[in-house]
């Protein structure tokens, strides 16, 4: 009898509401694509989609890292600067004549190290992630100009090969190596979140950090780990960007953190933490990419419309999250 009364207290429907935002993003993406195809004949070419991936591969990787951070209820403002710093350091070291392999290793270590340090400050000294990663953002951007005030071109063989290598089918459609790397990162991240303790701890901490602590979860370690992961993803993103542009520029990727956060939110991850998927983030990045492509195709619209549209979409999705009542705190 008691069991029955307990059953009756169940208030939510069985359909998980947390899936609604992701489904909405998917729908939006299909609509946007449909609009593109109906308006511009060239849009239906599969290469358009591939180009979205090619142009936004680095954004996708960085957004995956950000998804981890936001799932714990934190935020990482440093990613744009870390992307730039990684590209800058790579370009600088290559110009100094270091071997490509060594440069890769060094470049890939800087981001996670900074992320680790920021995570430590956030955890051990209990300072808001917003402030700490803001300092990290200043630091990384400052390092960029410290290395060089102007852009450094990359002429290294490995880099140019990675930049120009096309993987495609006989009909001429192709993707770059960056896209493959980006998808590998997505796959690893999705597996980590769904099937490892670290991933589950990320969700638990995003849901309720105090509970996590009392349940004996390694809250501090997890929190430091997500900022390290975000730093690593930003570093990979930086390398991909340097493949893409074949240079390191001190002022590249300024404000990128906003695009990344927007992509994650549009992808259905709740900014308070505890709910969201890497798959949603992929969709979010695609939405941004398709909008950019649409605006480019149109020709009459100026680049600032991208920002206005992204702002509008952010509003729509945040409102949606609010309406279906995703709030765990």
């Amino acid at each position: 009898m008691t069991t029955l009364s307990l059953m009756a207290t169940r208030t939510w429907s069985r359909l998980p509401r947390r899936h609604v935002p992701v489904l909405a993003t998917l729908l939006l993406l299909l609509v946007l694509y449909g609009v593109g195809v109906s308006q511009y004949r060239a849009f239906s070419n599969i290469q358009v989609i591939f180009n979205v991936f090619i142009d936004n591969g680095f954004l996708l990787v960085v957004a995956v890292g950000m998804t981890f951070v936001i799932l714990t209820g934190g935020i990482d403002l440093s990613v744009g600067s870390v992307v730039a710093m990684t590209a800058m350091v790579s370009a600088f070291l290559l110009r100094e004549g270091l071997p490509a392999a060594l440069v890769l290793v060094i470049a890939l270590l800087i981001g996670p190290t900074l992320g680790f340090l920021m995570g430590c400050v956030i955890h051990f000294f209990d300072i808001q992630p917003f402030i700490v990663t803001l300092a990290g953002m200043f630091f990384a951007r400052g390092m960029c100009t410290f290395i060089s005030g102007s852009s450094i071109p990359i002429s290294d063989g490995f880099w140019t090969r990675m930049s120009q290598q096309r993987i495609g089918n006989p009909s001429g459609n192709f993707v770059s190596i960056s896209v493959i790397i980006a998808f590998a990162v997505v796959a690893v991240a999705a597996y980590t979140l769904a099937y490892t303790r670290l991933g589950r701890n990320v969700y638990a901490i995003g849901g309720n950090p105090q509970s996590g602590l009392l349940m004996g979860l390694p809250v501090g370690r997890t929190r430091i780990a997500v900022y390290t992961i975000s730093g690593l993803c930003a570093a990979i993103g930086g390398i991909l960007l340097s493949f893409y542009t074949l240079s390191g520029a001190p002022l590249i990727a300024v404000g990128m953190e906003l695009d990344v956060i927007a992509a994650v939110v549009i992808g259905g991850t709740v900014l308070t933490g505890g709910s969201g998927y890497v798959f949603g983030t992929v969709l979010g990045v695609l939405v941004l990419g398709v909008i950019q492509t649409l605006i480019t195709f149109d020709g009459s619209l100026n680049s600032w419309w991208t920002k206005i549209v992204i702002g509008g979409l952010l509003f729509a999705f945040i409102l949606l999250q609010r309406l279906i009542g995703i709030r765990y705190k």
Partner: protein, 513 residues
């Protein structure tokens, strides 16, 4: 009942915090297969002792042994691994995760590092079946009631092969049926040889389930007793340490004369007021100087009624008259405008603003009613605050310290002061005496009686029937989110009668409708 060797001993435990000696040379032991109640007033050191045991705090001095071996846990995780599991008063789980995950997170079944979801769900189902809980292990925990969440927490604790299970006030958010279910589980675990350390404020529950009782007072050990050899009265004596004088004096007070209440136009007259999925439509009148007690089990809709009458939640049904003229109570601001005040049961979350000073907390409601453009002159503030700090003997008496530094009882008095300076005509008190020490409790009870004698109407919500009976002219009984009876508090009415109403679900004197 008890084996020859305790599974857990704590010897000579001392723990100090700045300015406070939280534990002073305390001994405690726990035998396998017993339910051992840890009793004490607020500030006695119960929670500190538990936190020392589970490794949240280190000790200044003293030895903890588990199975005869000295241990010192660096945190809850280590304690859990050694077989000491804790379930806290507030459910400390992650509501965004599934039921199964909440049971297993941190020690999920894995293969090659990958979480085995199927295995986890299967084991979760088996475990919950042992607790007689038939719920969907895939569903998000947040979609279930607090009681279910509490059971899931216990499922988590017992799965860890615990030898010592610490239950820190697990019953405070459960209704009678759920408590019974919990006790059944506790007895079963006890019979399996698990040692259970049980903390609660409900004396009846202690006598219902505990084998032995350890009493703490002011951080010191008063003693360890077999439950059967310790009468309730001596337990209370040992807990409060002052020969019950206060309690007895209050008991000597005659019951309120019901004839003092109900006369003339009611101050508040609600008809068929209700709110979907919160409380079924009810009708109630409250007169000037009348104390209306609201009795019922936890979750019966008591708090919901109080919140509707204050406009904290919006009614979607029914009508309201204040002093005979129709109106509506859609927001707290509207209710305050009609001279209604409300102390929430959730003092910390919905009452005080911890970092503001006692003075600022006290003047808050009055200032809000005046609007921010008409600040209360500082001299007037000081006058009012000083008067009420003295009248309610709020301690410490310094009105400029942050209210968060005060004890629970004193915070409650600050809240009362906040409303008293607005000179309300009706004061709604939702569990004003919960979780505060007996001294402060009797002071608040006496205050309610005085206010009512002075003409103020009071709606008094309490889980303790004795308290309701002692103070009320009229008692409204709630059951399953319905007002099932309204009893005039005359000689025929006693705790049993109210219990009958709750159980029967039908009003003996009829529900006006």
């Amino acid at each position: 009942m008890t084996g020859s060797h305790p599974v857990l001993t704590m010897t000579g435990i001392s723990k100090s915090f700045p300015g406070v000696r939280a534990l002073d040379n305390v001994d405690f032991r726990l035998f396998p297969g017993e339910v051992h109640a840890l009793m004490g007033e607020n500030g006695a050191g119960k929670s500190t002792l538990i936190k020392v045991l589970t490794g949240v705090y280190g000790t200044d001095r003293g030895i903890v042994t588990l199975d005869g071996e000295q241990v010192s846990f660096a945190g809850p995780m280590q304690a859990t691994a050694a077989g000491v599991s804790t379930v806290y008063q507030e459910v400390n789980l992650c509501t965004n995760l599934s039921v199964a995950e909440n049971i297993f997170i941190g020690r999920e079944p894995r293969r090659l590092g990958a979480v085995r979801w199927g295995e986890m769900r299967r084991r979760a189902r088996a475990l919950l079946a042992r607790l007689d809980l038939d719920i969907d292990v895939n569903a998000q925990l947040g979609s279930y009631s607090l009681a279910v969440q509490q059971m899931v927490a216990i499922a988590r604790a017992i799965d860890i092969q615990a030898r010592v299970l610490v239950l820190d006030e697990p019953t405070s958010s459960l209704d009678a049926g759920e408590v019974a279910q919990l006790f059944r589980v506790m007895r079963q675990l006890r019979d399996d040889g698990i040692a259970i350390l049980f903390v609660t404020h409900f004396l009846d529950q202690v006598y219902g389930i505990a084998d032995r009782i350890t009493v703490l007072r002011n951080g010191q050990l008063v003693g360890e007793y077999a439950t059967s050899e310790l009468p309730q009265l001596s337990l209370v004596e040992k807990m409060i340490g002052k020969e019950l004088r206060v309690l007895e004096r209050l008991d000597e007070q005659p019951r309120r004369d019901p004839a003092d209440g109900a006369a003339g136009t009611p101050l508040l007259d609600v008809r068929e007021l209700g709110r979907r999925s919160a409380v079924a439509p009810f009708s109630l009148t409250i007169h000037e100087g009348e104390v209306v007690g609201l009795a019922g089990l936890l979750g019966s809709g008591r708090t919901e009624v109080a919140r509707l009458l204050f406009g904290a939640d919006r009614a979607d049904h029914g009508s309201v008259r204040v002093n005979g003229s129709p109106t509506s109570l859609r927001t707290p601001v509207a209710a305050i405008g009609h001279g209604i005040g409300f102390c929430s049961e959730n003092r910390r979350a919905e009452g005080i603003v911890t970092e503001l000073s006692v003075r600022e907390n006290i003047i808050l409601a009055l200032q809000a009613a005046r609007g921010w453009l008409r600040p209360l002159p500082r001299r007037r503030q000081d006058e009012l605050v000083e008067r009420y700090v003295r009248a309610l003997s709020i301690r410490p008496a310094d009105p400029e310290i942050p209210v968060g530094n005060l004890s629970g009882g004193n915070q409650q008095k600050v809240l009362l002061a906040r409303w008293l300076i607005t000179e309300p005509r009706l004061l709604i008190l939702d569990e004003p005496t919960r979780g505060i020490d007996i001294g402060a409790k009797t002071e608040i009870q006496r205050l309610v009686a005085e206010l009512s004698d002075g003409g103020m109407a009071v709606l008094f919500v309490s889980a303790e029937l004795e308290e309701v009976l002692r103070l009320s002219h009229k008692i409204a009984v709630m059951r399953d989110r319905e007002m099932v009876a309204q009893l005039t508090n005359d000689q025929d009415v006693d705790a049993d009668r109210i219990m009958q109403s709750i159980a029967a679900g039908a009003g003996h004197e009829g529900v006006p409708s």
